[in-house]
């Protein structure tokens, strides 16, 4: 190559700029911060996380000891400004401590399913052929059951408790994540730029690392985020059915179940755990929407 002829005069400057160029993920982050709604939603979730992690700092009363004298106090009672539950425990304390379980059961299964399902799905989509058939047919077997039924069946077999809830929900979220990962990867694999990378002599793993992953991780991540809200509701549902977290542990779904009988006595108090489930899952939903918009660089 005729070096001198094509070298721009300020090559070093150009080079520095290229190396400092904003990466794709940095751009996504900036666009995320530009989106006011998503920013607000992330703030709410962050606040929730801080409250849940540092629960003792945000609560006065113990969430597990109640008093028969203070049963089902309404919202606004002095000392118990969110009221008390059916055994006289402070509802605010139980709400904050319950968030620990609910968030754990809502986020951890999706994260685990993302690791396992994402890996298997990308593998199936990229390899194609027999590997694809094997993984996808096994997925179809799991897919035959609705996720709530699958989760109920698994906790039914394993017994209740937080660990089993997480395991059951993880298993029931693996198939949809495999399917999404597989289809996104298979689509990307047939695009011309992958062909061009092959034409430049790149090996499959190199192509995977530089050309496939950065195109498929985004959509998979967005989908997984949208699953968190479903997972929170499912975890609450399992607890509500008595298959999840067991009393006296605080968990939003379980609290909803226990306060069900008090719905006519103290409707506001009984509805509060439901409101928390609603707000949290809504926030995760909105965040996944915002993430999807931020990742679509073409907009």
């Amino acid at each position: 190559m005729a070096d001198a002829a094509v070298l721009p005069a300020d090559a070093n400057l150009v080079l520095n700029r290229a190396q400092q160029g904003k990466s794709y993920w940095r751009r996504v982050w900036e666009r995320l911060l530009d989106d006011k709604l998503t920013l607000a939603v992330m703030a709410v979730l962050a606040l929730l996380l801080v409250m849940v992690v540092f629960a003792p700092w945000f609560t006065v009363h113990d969430p597990y000891t109640g008093s028969v004298l203070r049963r089902l106090k309404p919202v606004g009672t002095l000392g118990h400004w969110l009221g008390t539950d059916e055994v006289g425990r402070d509802l605010w304390s139980r709400m904050v401590y319950g968030g620990r379980m609910s968030l754990l059961a809502g986020v951890v299964p999706v994260f685990l399913a993302l690791l396992v399902g994402g890996f298997l799905g990308i593998l199936a989509g990229y390899m194609g052929g027999l590997v694809n058939s094997a993984i996808m047919r096994l997925t179809d077997v799991l897919y035959a059951f609705p996720s709530i039924l699958l989760a109920i069946a698994i906790t039914g077999i394993l017994g209740s408790g937080l660990q089993n809830t997480i395991l059951a929900l993880t298993i029931s979220f693996i198939p949809p994540i495999i399917r999404i990962s597989e289809s996104v990867t298979a689509q990307t694999r047939h695009l011309d730029f992958v062909e061009a990378a092959r034409a430049s002599g790149a090996r499959p793993l190199t192509i995977m690392r530089y050309h496939i992953l950065n195109n498929v991780l985004g959509p998979i991540l967005v989908y997984a985020t949208s699953l968190i809200s479903i997972c929170i509701i499912l975890a609450a549902g399992l607890s509500f059915l008595g298959l999840g977290v067991t009393p006296p542990s605080a968990e939003w779904g379980l609290m909803l179940n226990n306060l069900r009988q008090a719905l006519w006595v103290s409707p506001l108090v009984a509805a509060l755990p439901g409101v928390m489930i609603f707000i949290t899952s809504m926030c995760f939903n909105l965040m996944s929407d915002g993430l999807r918009q931020a990742m679509d660089v073409r907009l």
């Binding site: 150009v14 290229a18 002599g201 660089v297």
Partner: protein, 354 residues
């Protein structure tokens, strides 16, 4: 480019090249695609996409490849690039057989032969800045990150894009013409000797197409390149090519120097193709449709000459015997019984006489 492994490799390969050996030699290349039948019916048949195709590309020339869509132009390109596996046939590059025990490895082949695709958007990774896309190939061939990016900058300059302005842009921020320039730069990043341009300018609008064509001509002179230029646009092929190869239903029907092909096409299919070309001269308007109907189904192509079902001169011999590609007096080669004395076609002798 001192100290660059890739450049050194290119220099070694270029030195001591025998001019008599064609740069690329394709012999009896064949690819049949299996058509997927139903679940119970496995025998869907075979699409004879490329059937027994042989040709040479000489160092420094531009070989134009023309034909209707579905005639096997792109499949041929992908087979030569080793993007899809061939059923049979031999491909040698600069005298060395590709894939043979003592021949050229695929990785070495890709250093010397690159391809530009038609869809300028799909052929760039939407998540990478264009300079990174260009730098990818040198990087995986052992050039350091900084050196690979530096080469990308030089190539951006070479294809007429200001590196300062364009290096960090993403594909969706560029126009079709700019993207195709990036694709060309990417193809040149390994300093190949042969570049396959598969409908590389077909998707661009006319004014941009002309600019990119001129760029291709300049780059060819500057980097000492050889092109295989695939297109359905006969005017563009005439402008850029030294020789032209005409394909029909997976077969080469005619090959020869561009002037000979355009002035006196020998194969009836080439004649029909050229007469379908819109003329700039109103006195030479196309008066009748030169070809009617679609090409026959490539799953069960006609016996004998594949063009006989649409050929106005088809006779019995065309149905019985497939014509072979034979050299013609005027230079090049043609696969038609009419051009072979004693073939049994009634026009054969006449054709030889004139």
């Amino acid at each position: 480019m001192s100290g660059s492994a890739v450049a050194a490799h290119g220099a070694v390969a270029r030195a001591g090249q025998d001019p008599a050996v064609p740069l690329l030699s394709v012999e009896n290349l064949t690819k049949h695609f299996a058509v997927k039948g139903g679940w119970l019916n496995r025998s869907g048949g075979l699409v004879q996409a490329v059937d027994d195709v042989s040709f040479n590309v000489r160092s420094g020339e531009t070989l134009g490849v023309v034909g209707e869509s579905g005639c096997g132009k792109s499949t041929t390109a992908r087979l030569i690039m080793h993007l899809i596996a061939r059923d049979s046939g031999r491909i040698s590059f600069a005298g060395r057989l590709v894939g043979a025990p003592h021949g050229l490895s695929r990785r070495d082949l890709h250093r010397q032969m690159q391809m530009v695709f038609q869809d300028s958007y799909a052929s760039l990774n939407p998540r990478l800045p264009v300079a990174t896309s260009i730098a990818f190939a040198p990087f995986i061939h052992g050039l350091g990150k900084a050196a690979a990016l530096k080469r990308a900058m030089q190539l951006l300059e070479a294809v007429g894009l200001d590196p300062l302005q364009f290096a960090n842009r993403y594909p969706h921020e560029l126009s079709g013409g700019q993207r195709q320039r990036i694709n060309i730069a990417r193809a040149l990043a390994l300093e190949p000797r042969l570049v396959i341009l598969d409908e590389a300018v077909s998707a661009l609008d006319k004014s941009i197409e002309a600019q990119v064509l001129n760029l291709l001509v300049d780059l060819k002179a500057h980097f000492d390149l050889t092109y295989i230029f695939i297109s359905h646009d006969l005017n563009v092929v005439r402008y850029i090519s030294d020789r032209v190869m005409v394909m029909y239903l997976g077969k080469v029907v005619e090959i020869g120097p561009v002037h000979r092909i355009y002035r006196s096409p020998q194969h009836p299919y080439t004649q029909a193709l050229l007469s379908a070309m819109p003329s700039m001269d109103p006195r030479r308007r196309t008066l009748r449709a030169p070809l009617s109907g679609d090409p026959p189904n490539p799953i069960s192509p006609p016996s004998g000459c594949r063009f006989r079902t649409r050929c106005p001169f088809a006779e019995q011999v065309c149905e019985a015997v497939p014509p072979s590609l034979l050299a013609v007096a005027k230079s090049g080669a043609v696969a038609c019984h009419m051009r072979v004395a004693g073939s049994g076609h009634s026009r054969a002798d006449k054709a030889v006489a004139h």
